[in-house]
């Protein structure tokens, strides 16, 4: 156990991140104080990218857990597995991060069932410790350990929302899609299309974002724009690429698709 190398979780190459405002300073301050951070914002607007970028900048390992409905407390903490000698304890990602000192990033936390998340409580207050009750061990968090969660408020439904008692344990940082110019420059850098195409892709994304609440839960994300740009850079026709990367993934509604194909025709000549 002691020869476990947490440094394998360090990010080697600097992830490209275009700063939107003073988020780098804010996050650095929170990290230095080891305050838990909640990054809020729509899907694909750069939350994860930002945290990776910061982990690299601060030169700390980062362990990311993508949450989903089936995730359980043991998936985070660890569990006994069977082997030929009986059973063997294996640390979960949360325990690993706490024990060895890493940023633990729980991505899309609302996707997990709320009762699962109760396990993080003791790590987020002054105690900074984690009880492995099945194993009978109390893990004191390493001084480099920090907990970060991401959360998409647009997703909110009465069934799927963070408990107040969970929310109140985090500092919050709001993220949104970058402004049109910045977003276009991200697309240029990430996908290799020219500024003209990138600007139009961003316009199309804005068109989809205008439909949120009118048949769309979320508009097209920066991530999808990058996909579309990548396809175009590879020689796929612009309209096909938009349909494949921007429209098809976000809606099955035939009427919205008709509208969006009208919008594509209006934006690209």
């Amino acid at each position: 156990m002691s020869d476990f190398d947490i440094n394998q979780f360090k990010i080697k190459l600097e992830p490209l991140y275009e700063t939107q405002s003073n988020e780098v300073e804010l996050y650095t301050a929170a990290y230095n104080a080891k305050l838990p951070v909640m990054v809020k914002g729509p899907t694909g607007c750069g939350k994860s990218r930002f945290i990776e970028h910061m982990a690299h900048k601060l030169d700390k390992p980062i362990i990311t857990v993508s949450c989903n409905e089936d995730i359980t407390a043991s998936d985070l903490i660890g569990r006994f597995l069977l082997d030929t000698n009986g059973t063997r304890w294996v640390d979960g990602p949360l325990t690993l991060a706490a024990r060895h000192g890493a940023i633990c990033y729980l991505d899309e936390i609302v996707e997990a069932r709320q009762d699962t998340m109760v396990v993080i409580h003791s790590l987020t207050d002054h105690r900074r410790e984690l009880m492995l009750d099945k194993k009978g061990e109390l893990v004191k968090a390493h001084s480099d350990f920090q907990l970060v969660i991401s959360y998409n408020p647009g997703y909110q439904s009465l069934m799927k929302d963070l408990k107040q008692s969970t929310k109140q344990r985090f500092t919050g940082m709001d993220f949104d899609y970058a402004n049109a110019e910045l977003e276009a420059s991200i697309v240029v850098k990430e996908s290799g299309v020219d500024t003209n195409i990138a600007t139009k892709l961003v316009k199309l994304a804005h068109a989809t974002r205008n439909l949120v609440g009118h048949g769309l839960d979320e508009g097209a994300s920066t991530r999808l724009l990058n996909y579309a740009g990548t396809l175009i850079a590879l020689g796929v026709g612009v309209k096909d690429a938009c349909n494949m990367a921007l429209i098809c993934p976000i809606t099955d509604d035939a009427e919205i698709r008709t509208t969006m194909s009208g919008a594509i025709d209006a934006i690209f000549d």
Binding site: D70, T72, A73, S74, D75, R79, F80, L82, T84, G86, R113, D115, L158, M159, K203, A207, T208, N210, L211, H214, G215, E255, I256, T258, T259, M260, G262, A263, I264, D265, A266, I267, F268, D269
Partner: protein
């Protein structure tokens, strides 16, 4: 005297054979038309022409028939060829003149003006068959005496032939006729009303047969389109050009409402939906970039050209943002032949205008005219400036008119063909009339108001729903007009008091609710992955391993699953007059009891977090079914909602089918696994314009079935003691009757909870 006239007529027509007819009036018309007839008709047809005119003067219907005949038949004979005139004469005599429908002969002959225009030259028989069909079905015999009664509607249908042939195919006309026959064969007055296209249902059936795509079929797409590209949400008021009786009505945007044609056919390869997009885009960019300018000192011709530059200017600006609009618009702007208009004999104003229109937008335009080219340059220069204004369009417009003005501009004969840009509006929004009284506007305003009812806030046009007619086993199309409104409101505190009054009940409900809340977990054993080790199973596996079993069971965990609720609920309240009745036991009206019950239910559902809406309805004939939104799906149980619920009023009747259809429309849009529609009513469906009570019962039954087919679960809570007589016919087994009305506040929430457990 007479012989004098005759001889002079003879000399006028002397190179032609004379017409053997004693009416001077006929002779005069003959003289005026024979020249044309000789030019148009073959020798054979000309003989038919003479014979027909002479014959029709002798069958005892005076001179009118021959006069109409002489005027129209040259075109008919020319178009349909030899034998056609004779055929029409025979038909006239045998099928119309010798029947009680004599009076229809003249309109019949006159109808050929339009028939020639809207049919092809092989369709004469088809037209005659159509008339014969209508005639035979509407000229009815009583007690076996044949053809004794005049067709009440033949003249009416003949007079509307231009509309019918212009807008419908023959097949569609038959459909429209058959509908009228089915309902009004035995009802002369209504039959006439129907066939003169003046009743609402006649228009509705007509509309349905029209060629093209109805706006209502793409309304949502267009709505989303304006929202996606401009974040606007203008409403629409579609018009049917022919019923508005306003010639050349153009689209326009005024008071946040877009007026547009209710139907479009594809044009130049642009499908109807795209045409609507082109139209809406043009209107919105006007809204964005056009500022009103004073019109009083600007002549109509000056305005005309100013508008062309302004249209081009706003479109240019829009294209900077959405370049793809250019191709869309260009495909809808006609190209004319530069030298097609002869400005010696006709006004070329529109011809010049359409060329300019094209040239301003299309850099590959075909025109060589130097003035056009100059103004395209001027326009380009203007648009390269940082900022442009509507006034700049005015100066370009004035200048262009001065350069191109021609004496023939005012001629009555105007070059019109292919000069209309259908997606563009009439630009009324760019002019400010300070002094002039704009008559046209006012007539229109007036008409719009009188269509609406007294409240004058009917900006949202009604939704029309079909209604089921059990006797004919078919739907009556667009029969019921449903108007939706936000319910009026008053002080929300009334609802708080109600909840206080029922505080014990509220406590009881809380317990039930807790059980229903989605924390409930189900245990799932035999999981590969899970929350906990399932010791029993795990031990068994360990033993298997120790015993050297090659394949121990790896499904050794237990997991837990949520019993999650994904429910949308619509509570639909009957708000008809009868709810004002006082319930003896409690001294409250049914309405007050409903209000209490709904408050409790709404509170309970809010606790559960189900997606929940409340609406009320009543009706005053099929023309006015009111649908009131009390709580929207997206709203919380807050003061705004309570204030509306506090103001419930009961009036009018209960056209339940239409209300269910409208409610279902919205419930269907909700994204949840289960969709429940609760209908709270105190009686059977009824309305004052329906006398056979079975009609609305059967229609409601249909509406319920329609909702069920879409996956909804309609359920009725009836307060009518006599409900057993009819309610199962409507809702099958999905209903409960609450006998003790005063217990409704307790019963309703419980019923809901048990339905959704």
């Amino acid at each position: 005297m007479q012989s004098l006239i005759k001889s002079s007529l003879d000399s006028m027509a002397d190179q032609h054979q004379s017409l053997n007819c004693s009416f001077n009036t006929v002779q005069r018309v003959f003289a005026a038309n024979i020249e044309q007839a000789t030019q148009k008709l073959s020798e054979q047809s000309l003989i038919e022409y003479y014979k027909g005119a002479e014959f029709l003067a002798k069958i005892g219907q005076g001179d009118a028939l021959s006069i109409a005949f002489l005027k129209i038949m040259p075109w008919v004979g020319e178009f349909y060829g030899d034998g056609s005139i004779q055929k029409i004469v025979d038909f006239t005599y045998q099928k119309i003149s010798r029947t009680p429908n004599k009076g229809a002969v003249e309109p019949f002959l006159n109808s050929f003006i339009d028939v020639v225009e809207h049919t092809n030259n092989a369709q004469l028989d088809e037209y005659l068959d159509l008339i014969e069909y209508h005639l035979s079905k509407t000229t009815f015999s009583v007690h076996g005496i044949h053809d004794t009664h005049t067709s009440p509607s033949l003249i009416a249908i003949l007079t509307n032939m231009h509309l019918l042939l212009e807008q419908l195919e023959f097949e569609g006309i038959y459909e429209w006729i058959n509908y009228g026959l089915k309902y009004f064969q035995d009802h002369p007055e209504r039959q006439e009303e129907y066939f003169s296209l003046s009743s609402a249902d006649s228009k509705a059936v007509f509309q349905r047969q029209r060629k093209g795509l109805l706006f209502s079929d793409v309304e949502r797409e267009i709505n989303l389109f304006q929202r996606a590209l401009w974040k606007t949400d203008f409403m629409y008021a579609p018009y049917s050009p022919n019923f508005e009786k306003l010639e050349h009505l153009h689209p326009y945007l005024e008071d946040s409402v877009i007026r547009l044609p209710d139907i479009y056919e594809p044009l130049n390869g642009i499908d109807a939906c795209k045409r609507y997009m082109a139209l809406v885009a043009h209107l919105i960019v006007h809204h964005q970039f056009t500022t009103k300018i004073v019109a009083d000192n600007v002549s109509p011709q000056q305005r005309f050209f100013t508008e062309i530059f302004e249209d081009a200017r706003v479109e240019y600006l829009a294209i900077q943002i959405y370049p793809g609009l250019k191709n869309l618009w260009l495909s809808l702007i006609p190209i004319v032949d530069e030298f097609d208009c002869d400005d010696k004999h006709q006004s070329c104003l529109r011809h010049r205008a359409i060329m300019l229109t094209r040239a301003l937008l299309d850099k590959n335009h075909p025109y060589k005219n130097q003035i056009i080219l100059d103004y395209v340059e001027k326009f380009k220069a203007l648009m390269s400036a940082e900022e442009t204004r509507t006034l700049d369009s005015l100066s370009l417009g004035l200048g262009y008119l001065i350069k191109t003005r021609s004496a023939s501009d005012t001629l009555a004969s105007i070059y019109f063909e292919n000069t209309e840009v259908t997606y563009r509006d009439d630009n009324r929004s760019m002019w400010l009339f300070i002094e002039e009284f704009d008559e046209e506007d006012n007539i229109f305003e007036h008409q719009k108001r009188s269509e609406d009812d007294e409240e004058g806030i009917e900006v949202i046009p009604p939704h029309y729903y079909d209604e089921w007619d059990y006797a004919y086993e078919s739907y009556k199309p667009d029969w019921a007009a449903v108007y939706e409104r936000l319910h009026s409101h008053t002080n929300a505190s009334k609802i708080e008091q109600i909840l206080d009054k029922h505080s014990t009940l509220v406590k009881q409900l809380k317990k039930v609710l807790d059980l229903l809340k989605p924390q409930n977990k189900k245990r799932l054993r035999y999981q590969e992955e899970g929350a906990e080790l399932d010791l029993d199973i795990a031990l068994r596996s360990v033993i298997d391993i120790k015993n050297g079993s090659p394949q121990p069971d790896t499904r050794i965990n237990v997991d837990f699953e949520h019993d999650s609720r994904s429910v949308s609920v619509l509570l639909l309240l009957d708000l008809s007059e009868s709810l004002n009745e006082v319930v003896e036991q409690s001294g409250q009206t049914i309405l007050e009891l409903s209000q209490e019950a709904v408050s409790l239910l709404a509170w309970a559902v809010e606790q559960l977090g189900d997606n929940f809406a409340i609406a009320g309805f009543n009706s005053d004939t099929r023309k006015k079914v009111m649908y009131y939104h009390i709580k929207g799906y997206n709203e919380h149980w807050d003061d705004a909602v309570k204030a509306r619920l506090a103001d419930l009023k009961a009036e009018f009747s209960t056209r339940m089918g239409a209300a269910i259809r409208h409610g279902a429309h919205y419930l269907d849009l909700q994204q949840s696994d289960k969709k429940l529609m609760l209908i709270l009513t105190d009686g059977e469906p009824a309305d004052i314009d329906v006398h056979d009570s079975k009609i609305l019962i059967q229609d409601t039954h249909k509406a319920v079935q329609e909702a069920q087919q879409k996956g909804m679960y309609p359920y009725c809570i009836s307060l009518d003691k006599k409900a057993d007589e009819y309610i199962a016919d409507i809702f099958g087994s999905h209903y409960s009757v609450i006998d003790r009305i005063e217990s409704l506040p307790q019963e309703l929430p419980k019923l809901f909870l048990s339905l959704t457990k």
